[in-house]
Amino acid sequence: MRKISHRTGRRHPLASVALLVVGLFTTGGAYALFTGTATAESSAVSEAQLDEGKKIFQANCASCHGLNAEGTNAGPSLIGVGALSVEFQVGTGRMPMAGSGPQAEVKPVQFVQEDIDAMAAWVASLAPGPALPEEEMLSGGDASNGAELFRVNCAMCHNVAGAGGALTEGKFAPHLKNIDPVHIYAAMVTGPQNMPVFSDMNLTPEEKRDIIAYLKYMDGNASVGGLDLGALGPVSEGLFIWIFGLGGLIAITVWLTAKSN
């Protein structure tokens, strides 16, 4: 009995210190946990993610872009291109390139989003560059203003209906149908490959949102003029009328002059 009371009554000299430490860790940890999730959404860059990003980069991209993204003869330096460039190039499957050609083409995405984010975070940590836009800058724009801006700034290469078009020496401006708004935004900001840059000082983020709204409107609504035949203009329309229009006329002419059985 005495032994028990002795045991329960007696405290280790460091017990209060230990209690204090535990208490501090609990409150501090809880605080860090709650605020931590809040900051994670805006700029979640942990040391582990950077390491991971660097590893993935060095394993997959370094042969052309250099071990520290400094660039080589085969590929440009990526210092200062920002997270947005990585999201665009890797997130659309353009990078890593399958082979050298006039331009990097869209193909199935080679990485999971987590890995793309890690690489983006690492590239962004090298030097300041364009970051991913806020979610609200990607939807809810004014499609009619966007259409005017698109006609002025984009339609010469991407076609007024966003069907894409040819450039020089095998290069082309890709079509813009059903593209993730982040990638439309990223293309305007970063000017990938031969596309000119449309920085926020040229087209404001609101104007970019309007252009995205226009392209999304085009995705969601069929052509008012009926079958658009790919909206390629005289090429597809001419082909159609030569084959089906003239073909139909020839068929009718043959039928007209043939004797009835």
């Binding site: 290469c157 031969n194 040229n202 052509s223």
Partner: protein, 342 residues
Amino acid sequence: MTDSGKELVDAGAAVAHSDAIENPGFQPEHKRVADLDPQRAKGAERGIAALFIASIVFTILAAVAYNIFPIVEGDPQSIRLNNMFVGLGIAFGLLAIGVGAVHWAKALMHGHDLVEERHGTRGTEETRTRAVEIFKEANAESGWTRRKLVRNTMIGAMVATPIPAIALFRDLAPAGSPQEVLNHTMWKAGVRLTRDPNGTPIKASEVTIGSAFHVIPENLLEVEEGFLDEKAKAAVLLMRLNPSDLKEAADRKDWSYDGIVAYSKICTHVGCPVALYEQQTHHLLCPCHQSQFDVTEHCKVIFGPAARPLPQLPIAVDAEGYLIAQSDFLEPVGPSYWERAL
């Protein structure tokens, strides 16, 4: 035989061989199923009537579709179905009439072959003599060759009638000298470069490397009459390159600002807007006829039918940092014309 045959033939007449093949005449008449079998004829008749009835149905459907798919104001999508069904109804309505009529002619109408002889074009001697006589009589009765004053004044009056047309059509030409209109644009010293379409001025610091700005002169938006004409002449593409990429001529060194260059957007071939700028190759492509211009070398033509480089707009920066024009273009923009001096 052939030699003597040739001599008989008039030089201007068609080739007529004396050993020509004899006209074989018609093939035995081709009997159609409808000719042979009254039952099939009845069937064809029903088929043709069905086509005409189908035509009526399609015509009515077109009218019904117009009401079922009304064009709703503010909803462009409503035009689509309306146009499609009304168009299909009218098209098939007309097509069925045509197909029915042809089918009727081919299957049921009289089917014998027949020949229509071609007539000679020369009239008989009698007709020809009479025609000459008529001319002579008319001349004598009207005094056409005798009363020269009347005749000549009448011809003069008729020649004079189109004169008002010259005055009317001449007025369609641009006021004043057309060369003046073609030679100059709205750009002049101190005019700010502004964004198309909203007209906000552009600071040199806002034009990042690799950027392409579509530019109009700041005073363009105040133009009320001839806005599009002025815009079509003054449209400019502004690009910023790495200054070391530019290979500028000595006399044009001060036309750019720290790698920022401004060129007319109007192709020197036939005037399409050249704005397909590739920021890595620094080539400008005209989408109409594939002319290519090299921005690094004063937009000289490197491919395609354009005859001249794109005119460069000399630019500078004003005290507030905005881009301004140093002057108008130093040569006429756009395609060639007769009076073009350069």
